[in-house]
């Protein structure tokens, strides 16, 4: 569907302020930490711009597919997984030994099953997934501040309970790349994704008789105007996110992740309020303990998350859509709180959100990523129905 472009009035004050913040923070990170830390912040900035301009979210897309079988968003996710797998498998399979990187391998476990289910439900109630919450906060959506706040609370509670969840049945880490070699594993994975894509296309065509285009945004006069002001077609988002995820892998040494930072922020706030998390098993050793004991700016996931938020602020200001009006509905606050808590807790149990658990897992060839996808989608289907109960959406089949 193509519609006529309307003139855009960029918010110049916010654009200028954000650019100054970005410049200051990137220089500060380079001076205080390293070029690497500064680069990761800038990669996060790129991710935020891409997510907002392409309106690339998982919760809305899954909801559209579950409710009305419209599959453009879901197809874009499958394309993202396929393209990122193409980029990741050779690197993780040591086809280029000069690039050292580690895969996001998680256990195929009850904790992932339950965590992803809770996350899927939570992202429908909260109004955004892991990446979606960050970029909509950056876009100035006030309700999403509540979701993010309780996302942090949920993640902190999750760190308190994770040890118990890890005692439940667990098949351990299963890597397709290690089991099959990266070439057969890549062929197998792309085949599975192609089947998924075909199923989504079939279901959409069966319901509507046609497919919604991945390039259905408002056209702008030129490429550069569209690039800067947006909106972007979904396939630009797919390409942008895949390339920026690859850059993250090469610079950070691991795939793009989001929600470890939320637990860390929660632990730091709790400590500042007089609490003590150092006795919790999760925070008592290893990277977590060190992260707690040093500046939040030393944590790469935090720095990337800050970049995503500022990138989204910048993109929204350029598009003239920063801090839009929100018509508050009866259960908006309730659903934001419940959704945030479920997502935070679920992400910790599931070894990451839709990005760090599902996307990173699948494109690393880890079977836990596929388990996440299955459980997360079932959770989303439950969440879609709960949205109707909480008056966030009309009943199924309604036109409005």
């Amino acid at each position: 569907m193509q519609t006529t472009a309307t003139p855009v009035r960029s918010d110049k004050t916010v654009v200028l302020f954000t650019l100054l913040c970005v410049l200051a923070l990137s220089l500060f990170l380079q001076a205080e930490f390293s070029t690497r830390q500064s680069l990761l912040f800038l990669i996060g900035l790129g991710l935020g711009i891409t997510l907002l301009h392409a309106a690339f979210g998982f919760s809305g897309s899954w909801r559209a597919f579950i409710r009305s079988r419209r599959g453009a968003g879901t197809r874009s996710h499958i394309l993202l997984l396929a393209l990122t797998s193409l980029l990741f498998f050779p690197v993780l399979g040591k086809a280029f030994p000069e690039f050292a990187a580690v895969a996001a391998l998680g256990p195929v476990s009850v904790s992932v099953l339950v965590g992803a289910f809770l996350f899927g439900t939570g992202m429908q109630l909260g109004g955004g997934c892991g990446s979606g919450t960050l970029y909509t906060v950056g876009g100035g959506h006030v309700r999403m501040l509540i979701t993010l706040g309780f996302f942090v609370v949920g993640a902190l509670i999750g760190t308190a309970h994770l040890n118990w969840w890890l005692t439940l049945p667990n098949l351990g880490r299963i890597s397709l790349i290690d089991s099959m070699g990266w070439v057969p594993a890549l062929v197998f994975q792309l085949t599975v994704l192609a089947v998924f894509y075909a199923v989504v296309v079939w279901l959409e065509r069966r319901r509507h008789g046609d497919l919604k285009d991945l390039d259905s945004h408002v056209p702008r006069s030129g490429f550069s105007e569209r690039l800067i002001i947006g909106p972007w077609p979904l396939w630009w988002g797919v390409v942008g996110l895949a390339l920026l995820n690859l850059l993250t892998l090469l610079v950070a040494g691991h795939p793009w992740t989001i929600t470890f930072a939320f637990g860390l922020w929660g632990a730091k706030i709790w400590t500042a309020l007089g609490g003590d998390v150092s006795s919790w098993a999760f925070w008592s050793s290893g990277y977590q303990s060190r992260a707690l004991g040093q500046s939040v700016l030393a944590d790469t996931t935090s720095v990337m998350d800050f970049g995503i938020i500022l990138g989204a602020v910048l993109a929204a200001a350029l598009a003239g859509s920063f801090a839009p009006e929100h018509k508050w509905r009866r259960f908006d606050v309730t659903t934001a709180i419940i959704g945030g808590l479920l997502m935070g807790y679920g992400a910790r149990l599931a070894f990451g959100c839709n990005i760090g658990g599902m996307v990173a897992g699948i494109v690393s060839g880890s079977l836990h990523g596929w388990l996440w996808l299955l459980a997360g989608f079932i959770g989303a289907a439950v969440g879609v129905r709960l949205r109707i109960v909480f008056k966030q959406d009309p009943p199924m089949g309604s036109k409005t």
Binding site: R36, A100, A103, G140, N163, R290, F306, A323
Partner: protein, 76 residues
Amino acid sequence: MSRRNRLIMGSAIGLAAIAVAVDHTSHRLPEPVTATSEQDGDELAGSSEAPCGLTVSPCSLDESPCSLEMESPCSL
């Protein structure tokens, strides 16, 4: 766009910035890194202070923020 929402968002971002600054200054600062290309290359090859950095890493199989002393899933 809403003036009130801009004010709320500005306040939230300002508060977050203050919280980060307080947190940063309350911890011992790391040794400054001289920005030479050789050192930068070393960091890219294996920072020891990153989640999923390559030498001391939650994603390496030794330590994980996700898995405690158990096997190491690295999705953060």
